[in-house]
């Protein structure tokens, strides 16, 4: 019973519909190959085996509609049109059904074989919404299965229906628009020239031509095919004259009313059950005073927990590595072999014992905040402050993600609609202390000088972000378009999802960073064995010794800091030739602060630089690097003067 080719199944749904949860509950259990981790911006691809049948399933970022100018959502369109999936799984949040159906109706227009997962039925019930799935099914002509993806409920039924559609096909029932609009659509459809690239079917293509005409992405048409361009313009003008509103608005409103009607025909809302627990919690979380107290408390707790978990873990894990080194020193003497072994142990020990203890709790807490839905609420609370640095609340979530790692944070700026906001946010993100820098700050500043110093460091760091943002926004004159941000309903974070997310990121870290940490450490060992590190140190001496007042030996660590920031920390110990516990014997408190400040700011790490280049272009990537160097110098000198 082998099928000649593996069917492609695309998962599509509005943001926060539980799409990825559903995807993971299918891919995670039955995955034949591992999932490729990604941020929610990249897509995830997985081949799964379900009761002996193979499927290629693809999870795309959430999208509100198929007509979008949001770059993150445009990826969805590209995939949808390029991949020509054998099946679309449309995930709809049942608790906000009337809006979710708008995308569903658009997918019915698109006309690929599809099934609908009516997800989060439990939330809908709690809200007092009763939905008759069979009613929706008969009206749109596609299977509609109630699911609760978080508990794995309904997933099997959904898959059964999916295979049914793949095997037997289906007859979707696209709904015509009002007569005046529909006749214009038919006109364009009829006049599509032969050979015109048709997406799925002629009617859908015609609708999209009218919807996008006059809009940036629709303008190319006039150049490609002037005749068709004129037809589309005529249809658009006719609709606009009839309705007194732009054509895209009329079509969107048509779909909106179809969705509301479909909702009313198939659902009942029981009154009196509206104030659920999440509404009460939200009233507190976004309260004008309490909200900010909670926000501050969340951030303090965030770093406190990471330090309290990471610190003892670090001491515990470092012990064995140090004793191993002592043993090896006694056995191997002072030859090349010892240098290599020492480099290897420093590298592995650094990755395992210094970085991981802080990295792991940070990732877990970040996933908790993300899954709970707190990032959007933080965006709401901080919007007014963000205006002072020329941004708005939607940039808050990339910033917060930046505390984990700058790279996915910069990728996630694609959720911002305007190019200007993306550039400004991307330039500021490298100033956010990512987990690598948090490790350095906690391992050096908090460990040796106390947690209060580390807190102070963070406060100064955030101030730097604010000042740099304020300065740059003076140069980017274009106004910001303003905040339009969905506040998703609160969800209790689920352990499985948090562990899965954390695991993917740790895995990526181990795969990407450990080789660099170990390799870098080995290279430094070799350099010092052949005395070549002196050369680098001598070249950098004017900066390191004269400029920053640091030990001569630390010059070489700066070079490696460009690869990964944690590397500087590990190299620092190696370059100074001391154990972590004995660091204070060779370096002063002031030097620790200056070193931390300089390392944190002096340049975005290599991966951040590459992603900046890719996302906002070479010019801005260099602007960002230049800014970092200047800020690092100014701050380090200030610190030297003050202390």
């Amino acid at each position: 019973m082998s099928t000649p080719s593996v069917p492609t199944v695309i998962f599509i749904g509005q943001p926060n519909s539980g799409k990825s949860t559903l995807f993971n509950s299918i891919a995670g259990l039955k995955a034949e190959t591992s999932n490729f981790p990604g941020t929610s911006i990249k897509h995830t691809h997985s081949r799964v085996n379900i009761e002996g049948r193979l499927l290629d399933i693809i999870d795309l970022p959430g999208t509100y509609s198929l007509c979008t100018s949001d770059p993150a959502e445009q990826i969805v369109l590209t995939h949808l049109f390029k991949e020509k999936p054998d099946l679309v799984v449309n995930i709809v949040d049942a608790s906000t059904l009337s809006r979710g159906l708008e995308l569903t109706l658009e997918l019915v227009e698109l006309g690929y074989p599809m099934v609908v997962a009516l997800n989060m039925m439990d939330v809908a019930e709690r809200k007092g919404v009763q939905i008759e799935a069979a009613g929706i099914e008969s009206l749109i002509g596609a299977p509609v299965t109630p699911t609760i993806a978080a508990h794995g409920r309904g997933v099997k039924e959904l898959l059964d229906r999916a295979f049914e559609v793949i095997d037997k096909g289906q007859a979707l029932r696209p709904r015509p628009f009002s007569d005046d609009v529909e006749s214009q659509v038919l006109d364009v459809e009829r006049l599509l020239p032969p050979g015109f690239p048709i997406f799925s079917n002629a009617r859908f293509t015609a609708i999209k031509l009218i919807e996008t005409s006059g809009h940036a992405c629709g303008n190319f048409l006039g150049e490609v095919d002037p005749g068709l361009g004129a037809t589309v313009d005529r249809a658009r003008k006719a609709i606009e004259e009839d309705r007194g509103a732009p054509a895209y608005e009329v079509i969107s409103a048509e779909r909106h009313h179809q969705a509301m009607k479909l909702f009313e025909e198939t659902s009942r809302v029981l009154r009196g059950k509206r104030l659920t627990w999440d509404k009460k919690v939200d009233a507190v979380l976004m309260h004008p005073i309490l909200g900010y107290i909670i926000l501050a408390a969340v951030f303090m707790a965030f770093f406190f927990i990471i330090f309290k978990v990471g610190n003892p873990l670090e001491s515990l894990l470092l012990g064995p590595f140090n004793s191993l080194k002592t043993v090896l020193a006694a056995r191997l003497g002072d030859g090349l072999l010892f240098y290599l072994a020492e480099g290897l142990i420093q590298g592995i020990g650094g990755g395992v014992a210094i970085v991981l203890p802080y990295f792991l709790p940070l990732l877990i807490l970040m996933s908790v905040l993300e899954d709970f839905g707190y990032l959007a609420r933080a965006g709401f609370l901080l919007d007014a402050f963000m205006h002072h640095i020329g941004l708005h609340g939607k940039s808050v979530s990339p910033f917060i993600l930046g505390f984990g790692c700058n790279v996915p944070a910069i990728l996630s700026t694609r959720i911002l609609e305007s190019h200007r906001d993306r550039v400004l946010t991307s330039i500021l993100i490298p100033f956010i202390p990512c987990s690598a820098r948090t490790t350095i700050v906690l391992a050096l500043v908090a460990f040796y000088l106390g947690p209060l110093w580390a807190m102070g460091f963070y406060a100064v760091n955030l101030l730097v972000v604010a000042v740099v943002g304020w300065v740059i926004s003076r140069f980017i004159k274009e106004p910001s378009p303003g905040l339009i941000l969905e506040i998703p309903s609160l969800k209790a974070p689920r352990l499985g999802s948090i562990l899965r997310k954390t695991w993917f990121q740790v895995y990526a870290f181990v795969k990407f960073a450990w080789p660099i940490l170990i390799g870098g450490s080995l290279v430094l060992s070799l350099l010092s064995y052949f005395r070549a590190d002196r050369l680098i140190n001598d070249i950098l001496a004017p900066l390191v010794v004269k400029g920053l007042g640091l030990p001569h030996d630390l010059g070489v660590t700066l070079v490696f800091g460009f690869l990964r920031k944690e590397l500087s920390l590990i190299m620092m110990l190696q370059a100074l030739g001391v154990d972590y516990q004995n660091l204070m014997t060779v370096i002063s408190r002031e030097q620790i602060i200056v070193f931390t400040v300089f390392i944190s700011f002096f340049i975005p790490c290599l991966s951040t630089f590459v992603i900046l280049w890719k996302e906002i272009g070479r010019k801005w990537a260099f602007v960002s690097a230049g800014l970092s160097v200047s800020v690092a110098l100014i701050l380090s000198w200030t610190v030297r003067l003050v202390l």
């Binding site: 509100y64 509609s65 007509c67 979008t68 100018s69 949001d70 608790s95 906000t96 059904l97 009337s98 809006r99 979710g100 708008e102 809200k127 919404v129 809009h215 509103a245 732009p246 895209y248 608005e249 969107s252 409103a253 909106h256 509301m260 909702f263 009233a283 976004m286 309260h287 004008p288 005073i289 909200g291 900010y292 959007a376 965006g379 709401f380 609370l381 919007d383 007014a384 402050f385 708005h392 609340g393 609609e417 305007s418 378009p481 303003g482 905040l483 339009i484 941000l485 969905e486 506040i487």
Partner: protein
């Protein structure tokens, strides 16, 4: 065209000045095309009934809930000023 609500229509005001916790009908979406497309994609159209659920300090954003779909969005003041609404009086 609405059968459930008998509305006594008042003069439109912008959403930023509208009263809280009162049903409001969107009379018009003004403002730039991209903001309007975004609002519509998020399910906010002319004729919809919405409620203001809260506001942030320092002229911060407003929390706007769509009563039909029960979705909530945060709207910056600038955007909210471009959304015109009128009071809806419900008689059941």
């Amino acid at each position: 065209m609405e059968d459930r609500l008998n509305c006594i229509e008042s003069t439109p005001m912008n959403l930023a000045n509208a009263p809280h916790n009162t049903p409001l009908r969107i009379a018009d979406l003004a403002g730039g095309e991209s903001a309007r497309r975004r609002l519509m994609a998020l399910g906010f159209h002319k004729g919809d009934v919405v409620e203001l659920d809260g506001r942030a300090i320092l002229r911060g954003p407003l929390l706007v809930r769509n009563c039909t779909s029960d979705t909530t969005i945060a709207l910056g003041r600038g955007v909210a000023q471009k959304v015109l609404v009128e009071l809806v009086h419900e008689h059941s």
